[in-house]
Amino acid sequence: MSTLFCGLELEHPVINASGTFDAIAAQRVFGDALHESFPFSAFVSKTVTLEPRQGNPAPRLWELPAGLLNSIGLPNKGLEGYLEQDLPALAALPVPLIVNVMGFTREQVGKLISTFARRGEVAAMELNVSCPNVETGLIMGADPEEVSRLLTLVRPLTDKPLIVKLTPNATDPAAVAVAAQDAGADAVSLINTIRGMALRPGTDQPWLGGGTGGVSGPAVRAIAASQINSVRAAVSIPIVGMGGVASGADALELLDAGATLVAVGTESFRDPIAGARVAAELDVLRARTPFSGAS
């Protein structure tokens, strides 16, 4: 079931969703078993920004029916910290590394992209223009022109595959995908979390320290399938599909909707080896319906 994605040969079509698996932490908790049976065919880092970020105040989580609302707020060590502390460990993973980056200005994004462009450890980059927790993410990713301007600036800075991660909180994600493709993106990924909110029971105050948050998990899968399908109809570059994938059947649905790879996010919280299970189930399903979701 090996899959070709933007020139990368991956062992199977299941990767992780950015920000939902910390391979370094997992190694502390699970030891060598993590490397021995790494669940994903590529590893996507949590979003890296130029400067270090603490992230949002607690509480950051609220459980939903078949889903999760989070306002993590992109905590990370910043570019320097990532290069020094994280990159060496992540480069040692048995799969290609995709670094997810985000900037608050086009120049910041440029700096991040050009830095990782020079790192042999990095196989590809994912550009987060869609995080609903941070002002810019929402605005850039919802507007085709913003995305176009951004890509025009940063595309020339690297030969590595550049994946643009779309926000679902837009009237027309397909239009944004077209803008990304036209400005040279190698692939798009979707969906990021959908803007949501929970109130502290019996009050009119938000539960989350960050105020609003993003919804993920099985609750959003049909929305993801619809957006993937409409993006598929609009662009020819590959799609990384995500949003609520918890089984091989779910993965197959997103592949059939038009994705080339699927990413597992929230389901990894319920089981760290969910990615491997999804890939195995997918393998079985595809053997049964050989015409479906061929890559």
């Binding site: 502390r28 607690a58 509480p59 950051r60 459980e63 078949a66 999760l68 320290g209 919280f269 760290p272």
Partner: protein, 282 residues
């Protein structure tokens, strides 16, 4: 390796479904016992992410969805594997579902997770302070602590008699209840206050609701007694993946599932316990 490494047993990678080998009620609490064929023995203070192997969901508010964190209450070698015990107080859809599990049904676990208690410093006598369901990690810790040179002092606080029934899970406990129905009428920190005055220097181990932990922290700072506190935070994953379980500390926000749940009181600040919490009952 860091100083805390000894208090961290690594977990098998991935969840496993255990068979429930026993279930008992202790007043307001339920103890679940499950046979762990593959897992290593946990360290006292470590926790597991639990869910029922079937029908995890569709309760109040169409929840639970994510697994729930539980301190290990006890872990004893049995005939066919490790017998893990957990103490459950039903406070919401997840704990309600777990509390109704029957013998023979499946309990899906991930763990042991996090870092547990460190042994007392030389010359210090261990004083265990528990509030409500927070007594759980103290039971396994009492089992493992050496009786010499000091037997552990155990101070437990509960809301009322129904909850105080949980005190039978530890031995020789002094009990306080809010309503005075059992033992001292008042807070368990009243007992701690007195205890800190008695005898050789104490090292305090505490687990309970945030206001209790905050009171213990303040008391121990005042008396310069070292204290290790087992905290709680809402957790989605338990293994550092979601960045959701952060608590404010002197080092900034840390992931409790990874750096805790047991933290040195000295690492905490006035803000640590100000976060809207899981709502443990005392």
């Amino acid at each position: 390796m860091s100083a805390g490494a000894a208090q961290r047993t690594r977990a098998p990678f991935g969840v496993r479904s255990l068979r429930l080998s026993g279930r008992s009620e202790h007043g307001a609490y339920v103890v679940l016992r499950a046979t762990d064929l593959d897992g290593p023995p946990p360290q006292p203070g470590q926790f597991y992410m639990l869910r029922t192997s079937r029908h995890w969901g569709a309760g109040t508010g169409e929840r639970p969805f994510l697994p729930r964190a539980f301190s290990v209450l006890r872990a004893t070698p049995g005939g066919s594997g490790l017998e893990l015990e957990f103490l459950i107080e039903a406070v919401g859809p997840g704990t309600e579902r777990l509390a109704e599990l029957h013998e023979g049904e499946g309990l899906t676990v991930l763990g042991p997770l996090g870092a547990g208690f460190k042994p007392p410093r030389t010359g210090h006598r261990p004083v265990l302070v528990g509030g409500g369901v927070g007594i759980a990690p103290l039971a396994i810790w009492q089992d493992e602590l050496q009786p010499a040179p000091f037997a552990a002092v155990v101070l437990l606080g509960f809301r009322d008699a129904e909850h105080a029934a949980g005190a039978e899970l530890l031995s020789g406990a002094q009990v306080a209840t809010d309503d005075g129905s059992v033992g001292h009428c008042g807070l368990v920190t009243d007992l701690l206050d007195a205890e800190l005055d008695a005898g050789p220097p104490a090292e305090v181990y505490a687990c309970g609701p945030p206001p209790m932990l905050e009171a213990v922290r303040r008391l121990c700072v005042e008396r310069a007694a070292p204290a290790q506190l087992a905290l709680e935070a809402g957790m989605a994953c338990g293994f550092g993946a979601c960045f959701g379980c952060v608590v404010p500390t002197a080092r900034g926000l840390i992931r409790l599932c990874l750096e805790g749940p047991v933290l040195d009181a000295g690492a905490l600040t006035d803000e640590t316990f100000s976060v809207p919490a899981m709502g443990h009952s005392g």
